[in-house]
Amino acid sequence: MKKQSYNTMLISVAGLILLLAVFPIPVLAQGKQAPAASEEGKVLYEDKCAHCHGVDGAGDGSAAENLLPRPRDFTRGLYKIRSTESAQLPTDQDIFDIISNGMPGSSMPAWGEILTENEQWQLVAHIKTFYDGFEDASPRLIDVSDKVPYSEESVTKGKEFYTNLGCVDCHGVVGRGDGTSAPDLTDEWGFRTWPANLWEQWNYRGGSTTEDIFKRFIGGIAGSPMPSFISSFRLGLTDEESARMNELELKMDGEGLSEAEEEEYAGLEEKLFMFEDIMLNVEEGVELTPEEQTKLDTALKPIFEKSWHLANYVKSLGPEERPQAAVGDKVLRSQYREGTLPGMNDEAWNEIKEASYFPLVGQIVIDPRQFNPSIDSVMAKSFYNDSEIAFLFAWDDRTKTLPQADDETGETVEDALAIQFPVKISEGPTDPKPYFIYGDRRPVYLWSWKVAEPSTVTEMNAKGINTATVQSDQSPIQAEGVYKDGQYQLWVKRSLITEDKRNDVQFAPGVFIPIAFSAWDGANGDVNTKRAISTWYTFVLDPVPSNKRFVYPPLIALISVGLLFGLKSSVRRRQDT
């Protein structure tokens, strides 16, 4: 028996050596190293980067003022997107990747499309000169080797951590960046910052692969309020021990602990601090003994596993790509429905699988402008029947802002939405539409909704940017707006045809009707022209499915069958003769 296990061991070792020869263990790769800083890099930096990041790398270039997020200040060595542990510098490869891929959702473009690889490495080298700490740095990498594959089970576990570890505080209950701490966040330079809307993965600054999410969770986002969550778990304790510690802490705060329990608690605490001490030694740069290293690796394993579950959960929240805008085959089609149209919470809305997506941008045509809009899209679904049309609009907003004085301007700001149609629908593609921001001599017809009166949509007309007036004769329009978990939903219902044909748009099936949006986020200082807007899109009321479909197809089938029979008998007759 003993001999057998010895042989087995020998074979395993030999096998392992062979395997290693063929597939080397994936060493935590630092990636490529930047070359030495050069004059070329400096010139390139001053040409391409300094406008935003400043000549001295302090994030204070001439364009910085109008950018949000602000361009990074390189002088403090704080890099948001890293493959390295908390409080560590990035690798050269990390900096290269950001230059090359840009930062989605910010003003940082992807230079990989413009500069050669060599030029990008020269920039990496120059950027590193802004912070002394790079000189002898060898940052510790986050170990991503034990990835937990994506599964429903993993997502479910991850959701629990998301809720319990405090992610909800900033990112909100369902992850739209609307947590209760979100409105007060600033970065280390004192600039306003918002937690990511985790549904919009195309805006993740450092990419949205599960590995990217894992690295942000373990390493934190330096300079921002996003901490490293590696400290969230009780290092070295089993789940049972950790649960017991919870129990004892609850009791400690309540009735108090018995002597035996106090001893038990002290024992658990001692174990935790023993492992924490090893971890802190690593952070302080103390070399570990092989035994300590093994202890730490073993203790970190379950923590990494839990973190992968968390990453899988975040990954599950939304699509990787931004939805396509509502044009072409994605155009908004109001669907015909017999009888009463569905109300706000009717399940019938789920029959429309995919809402149409209308991207918004900041209004920068006329002062006051919005260079940093916080609302980036409106989604819409629609049904109509023989007499009415209903819409369900949705848009993400991290804060519900009732009318209040803006911190900076003192003006009254509030959340609002305006849905815009032309009064007269153009006859064809050559017939010009009104100007897309509130019309011109060709007037627009508006539905104005404001958060303070969530069940009211006011009809307005405008003939230019600052000319919107409330109609004296309001058509009966039903509306209902609610805010939940970082998203507004607005339901609106109007009759297809109104009495005021001079000022109201009239809806008819089969006609392409222009539609556009304006959205105000009060917490972002939006008021009047300072807002997010869309260009004109079009939507269409799907033609009424005709009853004739029950008549013609069977008739044609009947005729065909009759003809066939006729043909058959005529052939037979001919054969007979």
């Binding site: 405090g166 934190g220 802490e249 601090f273 924490e276």
Partner: protein
Amino acid sequence: MKTKVVTILTLLIACVYVTTAAAAGGNEEVESLVFPASYKAMSVSNGGTISGMVKFDGTAPEMKKLEITKDVQVCGKTDKFDESIVLGEGNGLKNTIVYLTDISSGADFPSDAKYEIDQKGCHFNPHVRLLPVGKRLTMINPDRINHNVHIFSSMNPAFNKSQPGTRRKMNVKAVKKAEGPVAVKCDVHGWMKAWIAYIPHPYFAVTDENGKYTLENVPPGTYKLAYWQEACGTNKAEPVSVTVEAGGTVTQDFTLALK
């Protein structure tokens, strides 16, 4: 113990920097302390004492009440106030750092001292924490709610780690360089704010609730004495000269006004 040198702790600090550490406190500019270029720890047997009181000049400004925007059931149990000016008896000004700027050798830090910041009720206590270079800090979270410990260092690597309710005590790694004061914040509870000064020698004191401070065991000699106060600034450009005699006590009071 009569052996002269017990330990020699040489702390390398780039230089005596009198620069302004911008950004260390978020959007505000914070004056940094003055540290000696190097410091040698040794046993001090015949030290003297410097003590005194820091008074606030003028009428006490009304302490701004902070708005508790979340976790109200825990954080809202007691009112929270802006602590940039806290006055005690006789206008004594709390939370002022008083220290020697130019001492290059003297006592070591006590080996058994603990350095803690408590977050009970979503409030950092103390408001100004002196933390020796090379010593770890313990963050205490007795409320079973989520905090994050965000230390705005710039000389040392910035620090930001989550401390959920299940981490009643969390130790924070030691730093290598003297720095500060740097801001400490909890981003989850935006009103929470404190200061940490990473100090290279023990001749720093923080005034108590009545503005009193004491520097003990100072080797005889003449030193420069300076103060730092969050709202009143610093006299580091023109520190006061004090002469300490063996076993003697020197009194040095300060009167500070708002910047």
